[in-house]
């Protein structure tokens, strides 16, 4: 379940852009596109232009048709539809031909020059260019050591956390380790073949094609081999209270994996599940972390792995998990939910996916044994049960996996 902005956020987003609204449908459409974009939907200028072109073909006074036209042009995934509906209702509510969107205009601030410029130049981008100030470098020195010993900080009890103080060095170290692991677990042979100088079989088509210049006599041989195909990874991270002391590491891990590989989907769960892929799909880690911490509710709450897996299996599995998906679960396994449910969901998940890897930060301590019921229920369905708590363990994990895969 992706987090949805509240009604208040939608209203304020609409108000914020009311200054850009003006006469004519195109200006309003552009503003509408901007509102959607501000609220996290991927809407580009070309789509807005297409939408306005489409409107020529329908009767815009019929709200139903107007809605369908905008929806089919601007939204390209099912998840966006419900948010679109809400924004649509909020944005176009007062657009009767006579009155215009009066209510909103009255409340708005006077139009600034900047916003006029944007609305007047449809050739430009919808994107706002905001210089991103990062405080990463300042924190470099003080944070270097902290990372290796997961520490407790009173601030982490807060539901909304400040993840912005992330050191660049540790970030790189993690990225390197993750890249190593990721490429290991994520490489598989493809059925697709490519021409290669040292292939394992002859490509008859290309051999003939190449030898036509010799009048059909086979002189040059062309060979082919299988391509290597990257697997999809789904990352499910526990962000409940018991995982608090690893949260910084966790977020690094998620971010690193997501950005090193193309096809990674990231979810976090405590008592419920939240998809955060879109929040961390960016090159700018400082901002990514901010977005995550502000949008995930129930951070540091209780744990209900079974229910979260259930949500995942029902909502996301059909579309995300295939026979070549590797599921990476990051949790300490302290589950307070129904064990039977958890077992069933693990079984369902296992049936669909390629491999399940459980990373447990507690596993590394000497006295730890997977005794708690939730963990025990999950054990039979795991392909790998591995320890991970800092960069060292990540590197070790990389080696383990290398050995297993090789």
């Amino acid at each position: 379940m992706t987090t949805q902005p509240s009604d208040q956020e939608i209203i304020s987003a609409v108000k914020r852009l009311s200054s850009v609204r003006g006469q004519g449908i195109l200006a309003n459409l552009l503003a509408f596109g901007r509102v959607l974009k501000d609220l996290g939907l991927r809407v580009g200028l070309s789509q807005v232009i297409d939408a306005s072109r489409s409107l020529e073909f329908v009767d815009v006074t019929r709200r139903e048709d107007f809605y369908s036209v905008l929806l089919s042009n601007l939204i390209h995934e099912k998840e966006g539809v419900s948010l679109f509906d809400r924004v649509f209702d909020c944005f176009w509510k007062d657009c009767t031909p006579d009155e215009g969107p009066m209510e909103i205009i009255e409340m708005s601030m006077p139009a600034s020059e900047e916003s006029h410029e944007e609305s007047d130049s449809p050739g430009g981008s919808l994107e706002e260019v905001v210089p991103q100030a990062t405080s990463q470098e300042e924190d470099l020195t003080q944070d270097g050591d902290l990372f290796f010993l997961p520490t407790y900080s009173p601030y982490e009890l807060l539901n909304e956390k400040n993840f912005s103080e992330m050191g660049i060095e540790e970030s790189r170290a993690i990225s390197r380790a993750i890249l190593l692991i990721a490429t290991k677990i994520a490489t598989q042979m493809s059925r697709r073949k490519k021409r290669a100088s040292k292939g394992d079989e002859i490509d008859p088509r290309w051999t003939m094609r190449k030898n036509i210049k010799f009048g059909g006599e086979i002189i040059e041989l062309v060979s082919r081999k299988r391509r290597i195909k990257k697997t999809r990874i789904v990352l499910l991270c526990d962000v409940s209270g018991s995982m608090d002391c690893y949260s910084r590491f966790l977020i690094q891990f998620m971010y690193g994996l997501q950005n090193e590989l193309r096809s990674v989907e990231t979810f976090v769960f405590s008592t419920s599940l939240t998809r955060i892929t879109h929040l961390i799909r960016t090159k700018d880690i400082g901002n990514a972390l901010e977005r995550v911490s502000s949008s995930v509710l129930g951070w540091s709450g209780g744990t209900n792995i079974g229910r979260s897996l259930h949500t995942f299996n029902r909502e996301f599995s059909p579309s995300l998990v295939t026979h070549r998906t590797v599921i990476v679960l990051f949790s300490d396994g302290w589950d307070r939910g129904d064990v039977a449910l958890m077992e069933r969901e693990m079984r369902n998940l296992k049936r669909r996916c390629h491999k399940i890897i459980w990373l447990n930060p507690l596993l590394d301590s000497e006295h730890y044994q997977p005794l708690c019921k939730g963990m025990q229920a999950a054990l039979p369905y795991l392909d790998f049960f591995l320890s991970v708590h800092n960069v060292h363990s990540l590197v070790a994990l990389g080696r383990t996996i290398q050995r297993i895969v090789a």
Binding site: R209, R314, S319
Partner: protein, 306 residues
């Protein structure tokens, strides 16, 4: 039928006359795609009628349907065109024996005669008076590379064959892409398409679909079947049944001359609805737990919806 003259209502009506019941929103999207010459991307759970939309539309427009079923490893030579190498070789050998001119042979073996046309080229080169419907089915099964390649074809509707030259579409085909969302389609491709998500039908719509497809079915039986389906879709099954399953089941019940649903005939025919052993077990336990109230569905299919 001149496609340009179709209105949204007419499309809906025409589809209905071919036994395809669709929402107005889908009709609007189809209408737009005809007028804007943009492809449509249809997504939805399995068995809600994505592929059927394109098939029926081709019937409505009385034009050919060219289907490209995607699969992993699909590449340009199977989707677009390929040279008929054996034929070329044969020609070369024949010319060798007959002592033909080398230059002529070289140019002649790279003409259309030696070209094997695959669906995409066929759709672009189509000579009919009306544009064909091009159905690119289950695009999510093809790999990313193919998507990128498709992008090029769908934006310009032209294909360049180095030996022959550029072939441009005389009329743009109506393109439908379907996806089951086993993976995310790339944004660039999505942006070029109109998007529509086909939801599971409501009780009323599903009932209408069953009645249209099988007019001989008893109304009570149809209602029972649909009511059952609606309830089951709310539940947690590994694979939720789609409209295709509903129709399968209905036709099975008709073939068995059932006039209404009872537990026995339901048991016998459940294989039409659930295709996993676990789901069948799950159904049994749901019935045993009274979470799925069969009696109520059998007795009062309309009421059980509320």
């Amino acid at each position: 039928m001149n496609p340009r003259k179709l209105t949204i209502e007419k499309i809906q009506e025409a589809l209905r006359s071919r036994q395809y019941i669709c929402d107005k929103s889908l009709a609007t999207v189809v209408y737009l795609s005809i007028n804007l010459e943009k492809p449509v991307l249809l997504e939805g759970e399995a068995g809600v009628g994505k592929t059927e939309t394109a098939k029926v539309l081709a019937e409505v427009m009385q034009t050919g349907l060219i289907r490209l079923q995607c699969y992993e490893g699909l590449d340009a030579s199977t989707a677009l065109y390929e040279w008929n190498y054996p034929k070329q070789m044969l020609r070369i050998k024949l010319e060798e024996v007959g002592g033909g001119d080398r230059k002529t042979v070289e140019t002649e073996i790279f003409t259309e005669e030696y070209l094997v046309k695959r669906p995409l080229l066929e759709a672009i080169q189509c000579d009919d008076s009306t544009s064909p419907v091009l159905l690119i089915d289950e695009i999510d099964r093809a790999d990313m590379e193919f998507e990128a390649f498709l992008l090029e074809v769908l934006s310009d509707f032209q294909i360049t064959i180095p030996e022959i030259g550029t072939i441009r579409a005389k009329q743009r085909p109506y393109v439908f892409l379907t996806s089951n969302r086993t993976r995310e389609i790339h944004d660039a491709l999505k942006r070029r398409c109109l998007y529509h998500w086909i939801e599971y039908p409501t009780f009323e719509k599903e009932y209408e679909i069953v009645m249209t497809k099988y007019p001989q079915i008893r109304t009570l039986l149809a209602k029972q079947v649909c009511a059952f389906m609606q309830q089951v879709r709310q539940m947690n099954f590994f694979k939720r049944p789609g409209v295709a399953e509903t129709l399968d089941w209905a036709s099975a019940l008709i073939a068995l001359h059932r006039e209404e649903l009872d537990e026995k005939s339901m048991e016998d025919t459940m294989g039409c609805v659930f295709k996993y052993r676990e789901d069948l077990h799950h159904l049994e336990s749901e019935v045993a737990d009274k979470k799925l109230n069969l009696e109520r569905i059998f007795k009062d299919p309309m009421e059980s919806q509320t």
